[in-house]
């Protein structure tokens, strides 16, 4: 494999007048933007922009068509079953809040419980924690196996007649392993319990197949798929949406309104009040096309080659302590690794790496309870994208060595 990525030149951020030396290892936070996506958004905004779903003139009808075709494109990308609906939201965070507040909250009572896992992003913890607090209900936390995936047997034991939903990540943003989501859906469905999957970290690895997973809700954000921020998706199975009240109220979500009451429409549009983020949806659609054009086979192979290299290289550094050792029994390699440098604080590592133009995440990555579980405050996370190459990982390794030499306090440990 070449030392540079074949797709790096698609990303203008690396151009000579921007950040040619950037070594970007934070794609789990957000993916950089390919020119195709930025261009599509620019062209839409300059030459085709109008308010969708409202105007009776052609320009508006074209914008409506872009949104509705976008919906089909996303459904196809996720292999969503035909009996389902897709809502465009502002991102994973909003999607999960909709489900918490409109699907689960109306059924809450003090005997109820909600099951999540210990490896959830705050976006898939706080909405549940809050509705449990408001109703004096119980939030149950399913543990992880030693390999860092959700322990399905232990999770099963937490489910009972009062469980209203199981809400878990497809891939944890700290550990990076793929959870057995299809198996968890089967377990939950046997007991009549709905399942939400937070797919924020899974979509960039392709092959999301909702028909196979069988979940009730699936959420993701466009910016973790080389698209723009401010645009995301909520998939809902069957007619779930029709039983849910709207979340945010405003224009475009009603059949009929009087001063006294309103009758809401029965379609995904009920959850898309106000004016659509058409440019965001255009960006998401272009990102999906861009990735399809490359081919998911090549993308997956590229990321998994790099991932093997990253895991091996880090394992060679005896002062690097992964939060979780990669276990050969886990089928897939993670596209991200979270670790600590012995005796060095994560923030100091990130600052030093930054001075060498290497961008990594340092902190708790919006998963504070998980870090508490590992007995640490923070970690460094290195995550991979299309533009990365072996060379980036070599640079990371050199910089980590430098950071260790500069900061490590050995005598106090």
């Amino acid at each position: 494999m070449a030392t540079t990525s074949a797709w790096k030149h698609d990303f203008p951020i690396f151009s000579a007048n921007a950040h040619p030396k950037l070594c970007y290892l934070d794609s789990a936070a957000t993916c950089l933007t390919p020119k195709h996506v930025a261009d599509a958004m620019y062209h839409y905004q300059c030459y085709s922009h109008a308010n969708s779903h409202k105007g009776l003139y052609q320009l508006s009808a074209n914008a409506t068509e872009l949104v509705e075709k976008g919906r089909n494109k996303v459904a196809e990308f996720l292999n969503a079953p035909t009996q389902s609906e897709l809502v465009f939201t502002s991102g994973t965070t909003e999607s999960i809040n909709i489900v918490a507040n409109c699907f689960v909250a109306p059924k809450m009572n003090r005997d109820a419980n909600i099951v999540i896992s210990s490896a959830e992003h705050h976006a898939n913890l706080l909405p549940w924690q809050e509705i449990c607090r408001l109703h004096d209900a119980e939030l149950r936390i399913a543990p992880l196996t030693l390999s860092g995936i959700i322990d399905t047997k232990a999770l099963d034991l937490l489910l009972d007649n009062n469980t209203l939903i199981v809400a878990i990540s497809h891939v944890s943003n700290v550990l990076g392993f793929i959870n057995p989501v299809a198996e968890i859906c089967q377990l939950a469905h046997k007991k009549g319990i709905a399942v939400l999957i937070d797919g924020a970290q899974a979509v960039a690895h392709g092959n999301v197949n909702i028909a196979e997973i069988g979940c009730d809700f699936y959420t993701f954000s466009a910016h973790k798929l080389y698209g723009p921020t401010g645009c995301g998706v909520l998939y809902a199975k069957g007619d779930h949406l029709s039983h849910m009240p709207p979340y945010i109220l405003g224009g475009g979500i009603i059949n009929k309104v009087t001063f006294q009451e309103a009758e809401y429409i029965n379609s995904p549009l009920k959850f898309e009040p106000g004016s659509h983020n058409v440019v965001g949806i255009v960006g998401l659609v272009e990102a999906i096309d861009y990735l399809n054009d490359i081919s998911w086979f090549d993308i997956t192979r590229h990321i998994s080659d790099l991932s093997t290299y990253l895991v091996d290289k880090l394992a060679d550094l005896d002062f690097v302590k992964p939060l979780l050792k990669h276990n050969c029994n886990v089928q897939s390699l993670p596209s991200l690794v979270s670790f600590q440098l012995e005796g060095v604080h994560a923030h100091d590592v990130a600052s030093l790496l930054d001075s060498e133009n290497i961008a990594v995440r340092a902190g708790h990555h919006c998963a504070q309870p998980l870090h508490q579980m590992f007995g640490v405050h923070s970690s460094i996370r290195s995550s991979l994208g299309l533009y990365n190459s072996y060379q980036d990982i070599d640079r990371l390794v050199i910089a980590l060595n430098n950071a260790y030499q500069l900061f490590a306090i050995r005598e106090l440990e």
């Binding site: 604080h345 923030h347 600052s351 930054d354 902190g363 923070s378």
Partner: protein, 146 residues
């Protein structure tokens, strides 16, 4: 490389590697714990105030090099100082960190390695935390121990 060589000045690294007051056992009269909301780091500052003076000073916690070095400088700076002088003594380093120091640089010389932090706004709070926690500690009559 230059920028961080800038952030992590030699003096600062010295304090980080050989911090003054770190985990010292003292007869605590006042203490407080402060947290950095950005990263969740915590530091505990312990003080012995007797006869209107800071007689002893210590800190503990798992924190970054900037916070640790800043705490160490604080221990050096405030030891044996009368309480009446504390507000003045604290102002110089805190203003320096925040980039609000306007007076002649002379009296701030010993903190010159803190002065660069203002160029790294994301790290400012790391450097301020020990000083803020010290202020809470001396105001913390209720938490008096020892």
């Amino acid at each position: 490389m230059n920028t961080t060589a800038g952030l992590y000045q030699k003096v600062l690294l010295e304090h980080h590697k050989n911090p003054l007051g770190f985990h010292n056992k003292i007869a605590i009269t006042h203490s407080a714990t402060g947290a950095n909301v950005v990263c969740g780091d915590e530091i505990t500052v312990e003080v012995n105030i007797t006869a209107g003076k800071v007689q002893e000073l210590a800190f503990l916690g798992d924190s970054c090099a900037i916070c640790r070095a800043s705490a160490s400088m604080m221990c050096q700076h405030l030891l044996h100082q009368p309480l009446s002088q504390i507000a003045n003594l604290i102002k110089v380093p805190m203003d320096l960190i925040k980039g609000e120091y306007t007076a002649a640089v002379n009296s701030a010389e010993c903190f010159s390695s803190l002065a660069v932090i203002k160029q790294y706004p994301v790290r400012m709070q790391c450097a301020l935390l020990p000083w803020q926690t010290f202020i809470s500690a001396i105001n913390n009559k209720n938490e008096q121990r020892g």
